[in-house]
């Protein structure tokens, strides 16, 4: 029963509500940034616009190109949407209510699980690009896979630094891959973005967060890294040939991916459901549990908000710039960050530097 409620929350809220919510927020905000009003006709303040869009998508003609590889063509949108949604299951979106930890599955290898599941999404993009039998789509798919594979490395390396920060506190003896334990350690010692309670690690935490953020942008194909769907060069990129609900699935996949990345950032760097001062969140009553969920979601939404502002601020990178940034800047920086965390951690743990 409890597990059903939690799954319902993750699917119903984090996937099916946050996504349309993000769509309308993004459309309104971008309109305001450009001096426009944006969609405000459907429902109060235009809030029902995503619903109208969804209905439109459902009733549109679903075109499959003649020479498309049917199986992969149909599989691709699913493979874009499902893996990010699966990644949500190990994310602790709140403290306990009673004895129930607020997450769908408490995996001890949660971090590995999310990372491996998320990287499956790249197959969706590559399949979509290849199966459409369209040169532009193929190029988009190629770009997407190259980009995602490159930035996955920086992303994982910055996560490794996080894991070492959580393990690096003098009072800890072991690291952990369990997202819930990572959050609990942050509550105990301090947020990882600030070095997890060890002030010498403050720059490492900050750099790790920035690296993670940039890589997450690239992973989600968001501006300034949305080369796979670069309109001027590639029409629509890997989803050029997609119409109707299949296109909507691609779109949803992108937004769910953003939600997952924002949740991961919250979990790894921003202390999950923890808010300094709200010590009563520690008790396991219903109200405290709901407040902890609200705090977590507030952090996630704040990060998504930054995503939107960033999208309408920065121009798109060139492909060479993207690859240079990934391999020549982010990866070495992430490696250096890992080494720095390791050195500082060892020194502080052994009592060399306090």
């Amino acid at each position: 029963m409890a597990i059903a409620a939690k799954i319902a929350f993750v699917i119903g809220f984090m996937v099916l509500s946050l996504t349309p919510g993000m769509v309308i927020v993004e459309r309104r905000l971008s309109a305001w940034m450009q001096g426009r009003i944006g969609p405000d006709r459907v429902g109060p303040l235009g809030l029902l616009q995503p619903l109208a869009d969804a209905i439109k998508f459902i009733f549109k003609e679903d075109i499959i190109p003649d020479d498309a590889d049917k199986l992969l063509y149909i599989l691709a949108p699913v493979m874009v949407l499902v893996p990010p949604a699966l990644g949500l299951i190990v994310i602790p979106f709140g403290n306990h209510i009673g004895d129930e930890p607020l997450e769908v599955a408490n995996l001890s290898i949660g971090v590995l699980f999310t990372m491996s599941v998320l990287s499956v999404a790249v197959y969706g993009l590559a399949f979509g690009g290849w199966a459409s039998n369209n040169k532009y789509s193929l190029l988009g798919g190629l770009r997407a896979s190259a980009q995602l594979v490159s930035y996955e490395l920086a992303l994982s390396l910055s996560i490794i630094a996080v894991l070492m920060i959580s393990a690096g506190h003098p009072s800890e003896t072991m690291g952990t891959l369990n997202p819930r334990l990572i959050v609990e350690r942050q509550i105990q010692h301090g947020w990882n973005i600030l070095g997890g309670g060890n002030w010498l690690m403050l720059p490492c935490g900050l750099i790790g967060f920035i690296l993670f953020f940039i890589s997450a942008l690239a992973e989600n194909n968001r501006l300034p890294f949305d080369l796979p769907e670069c309109e001027a060069e590639l029409v629509g990129g890997y989803h050029t040939e997609y119409s109707s609900m299949k296109f909507a699935l691609f779109m949803m996949g992108e937004y769910v991916g953003m939600t997952v990345m924002a949740s991961l950032m919250t979990t790894f760097f921003l202390g999950g459901w923890h808010l300094p001062g709200l010590t009563r969140l520690a008790d396991h009553s219903l109200v405290a549990g709901l407040v902890s969920v609200a705090v977590f979601m507030a952090k996630v939404v704040a990060i998504l908000f930054v995503y939107v502002i960033l999208r309408w601020t920065l121009p798109r990178f060139k492909y060479t710039q993207l690859m240079n940034l990934g391999w020549k800047r982010l990866v070495p920086l992430a490696l250096a960050n890992v080494i720095a965390v390791a050195v500082i951690g060892v020194l502080t743990q052994s009592g060399g530097v306090k």
């Binding site: 905000l29 309109a31 305001w32 940034m33 450009q34 001096g35 426009r36 009003i37 405000d40 920035i210 930054v306 502002i309 960033l310 309408w312 601020t313 920065l314």
Partner: protein, 148 residues
Amino acid sequence: MTLKKAWYKLAIKLYIPAALNGMRYTLGRVFRKKATLSYPEEVHVPRKGYRGEHRLKKDEVGRMKCVACLMCQTACPAECIQIVGAPSPWPDREKIPIVFNIDMLKCIYCGMCEEACPCDAIELTPTFTKVSTTREEKIYDINKLLSR
């Protein structure tokens, strides 16, 4: 000076300070006044002196001011004005127009006719949203021009 310059260079190299600055600007735009009007409810009010569709003016006693001098027709670069004059029934002028057609589809709303008119008889109004379903409707005759 050099320190400031070096800092500036570093900020550009790092990219992130510049991006943050840009984000601040973008966020600021959110709260500015919007350029778009939600049209059916809000209607654009043209500025004073806006050049929309024409009208012919009348004097204090309600007679049309136009004396059919053909100055506007001559001045019109689009050649959209067609005037046919006739002897005037009133003693203070020689001619009045009996035909005064303006083809609104040809008109370029330049206002030359208004400038050329010696009697201050023709004027451009701020009206710009008139709709017609045929081309003939867009040729405004003397009654239509006088009634506006």
